[in-house]
């Protein structure tokens, strides 16, 4: 009887903590819907309309943007899509997909941008920039240095380069 009473007490004290599990859900615009895509073989080799773009203000992993942020690019020449013509300097939005900082022992930082849109048209292509990969020489120096009375530790603080997207760099994305 005592055991039964103890069990009931434990269950009752445990219940409120389970009931407390709440999740603050994100608010989403009404026009976003979850679409289950149906898999069909697609010809992805078709050439599309080439759209050369450059970033409006430079980005670096030293002061990185947040993942999910949208950054502005501009077209560097006039683009024709169907009957519509977009002049040079038209804004193209690109989303920051992943950002990671540089690390010691020469590991570089990197930034990946994709999901470009031009006037609501989704564009294909991505931009991946990786900083200077110094581990190519830091790693052998570290390994060999460790064998020489641990002298390799002096190479440990050497960090890899920051990834940068410069204003003058022109990238190509595609519309198809």
């Amino acid at each position: 009887m005592k055991k039964l009473f103890a069990t009931v007490c434990i269950i009752l004290t445990g219940l409120p903590s389970i009931a407390e599990i709440t999740e603050v859900l994100p608010t989403i615009p009404n026009d976003i819907k979850i679409e289950k895509r149906v898999y069909i073989a697609e010809d992805t080799t078709k050439p599309g309309v080439e759209i050369p773009i450059r970033i409006l203000s430079p980005v670096t992993t030293k002061n990185p943007p947040e993942e999910g942020d949208f950054l502005d690019f501009v077209t560097t020449k006039e683009i024709k899509i169907g009957n519509k013509t977009y002049p040079e300097g038209t804004i193209v939005k690109g989303r920051v997909e992943t950002v990671s900082k540089n690390f010691s022992l020469g590991v570089p930082g990197d930034i990946l941008m994709a999901n470009f849109t031009l006037d609501k048209y989704p564009l294909k292509g991505q931009i991946k920039k990786v900083g200077a990969n110094r581990s190519i020489w830091v790693d052998p120096c570290f390994q060999i240095g460790i064998l020489c009375l641990g002298a390799g530790v002096i190479f440990m603080p050497i960090r890899g380069g920051h990834a940068k997207i410069k204003e003058k760099e022109v990238f190509t994305v595609y519309y198809r």
Partner: protein, 237 residues
């Protein structure tokens, strides 16, 4: 001098062969498996894997292999660009979304293996010295790949909570704490694909409910970040 040089070279080469396991090698007891079952599971792994590659237009070649071994594991080989999923892990997956989650994570490693000097040879060195950075990245790219292929990315949180162990600390581990990984994925989905959380098909899945239970503190930190509009990364527990 020769011996010293050889020893140095051997150490260097050994450092370039790390294992990029997605999870851990917990023993898994099960009976003998029939060939037709192996064939069926291999077909499913290949189908889902290739679907992710094609739908995301990944231009790097990768193959998928099912291994009937018992370990609760999946890994991506940098040298061969081969993704192996073991039966121990496969049997823990409830649906195709979860299989896609595991494969997407490994595909992300595989794609990374192509980048850099000497056809990606030196990317291995980066993985060796900063594995956690690349694990977080692979998790996030996995979310993108899953959404790109029409899968529900919340399954990645569910499969992590179900199959990946939780070490005390991650100082000496190649993988971050699973609780941190789950929160990073949660934050990533919350920011980029909020629709999957707002209309969450895994809302009542026991392992998702369990994730909500164990991540109360971490989610409170995240909510504080959202409310204060902070750009600082949160150190999850």
């Amino acid at each position: 001098m020769k011996k010293f040089f050889i020893a140095a070279m051997l150490m260097f080469c050994a450092s370039l062969a790390p294992s990029f396991a997605a999870s851990f090698t917990t023993p898994f007891n099960s009976d003998v498996i029939e060939l037709k079952d192996i064939v069926a599971m291999q077909a499913k792994v290949s189908e889902v894997g290739v679907k992710i590659l094609n739908k995301n237009e990944i231009e790097k070649r990768t193959i998928f292999r099912f291994d009937s071994g018992k370990s609760v594991n999946a890994h991506s080989s940098f040298r061969d660009r081969e993704i192996v999923i073991y039966r121990g892990l496969y049997t823990l997956l409830d649906d195709e979304n979860m299989l896609a989650a595991v494969l997407s994570h490994e595909i992300s490693h595989s794609v990374e293996s192509y980048e850099g000097a000497f056809r990606g040879y030196f990317t291995q060195v980066n993985y060796y010295w900063a594995p956690k950075k690349y694990e977080y990245m692979a998790d996030k790219r996995a979310v993108d790949y899953m959404v790109g292929a029409g899968y529900n990315p919340v399954a990645l949180i569910v499969v992590m909570n179900k199959a990946f162990s939780q070490t005390r600390y991650d100082w000496c581990s190649s993988h971050p704490l699973t609780s941190r990984r789950m929160m990073e994925v949660y934050e990533y989905i919350y920011k980029k694909y909020p629709q999957y959380l707002a209309k969450n098909e895994y809302k009542n899945h026991p392992y998702y409910v369990n994730f909500l239970l164990i991540s109360k503190e971490n989610r409170a930190k995240f909510q504080h970040k959202i409310e204060t509009n902070s750009k600082m990364p949160v150190l999850y527990l």
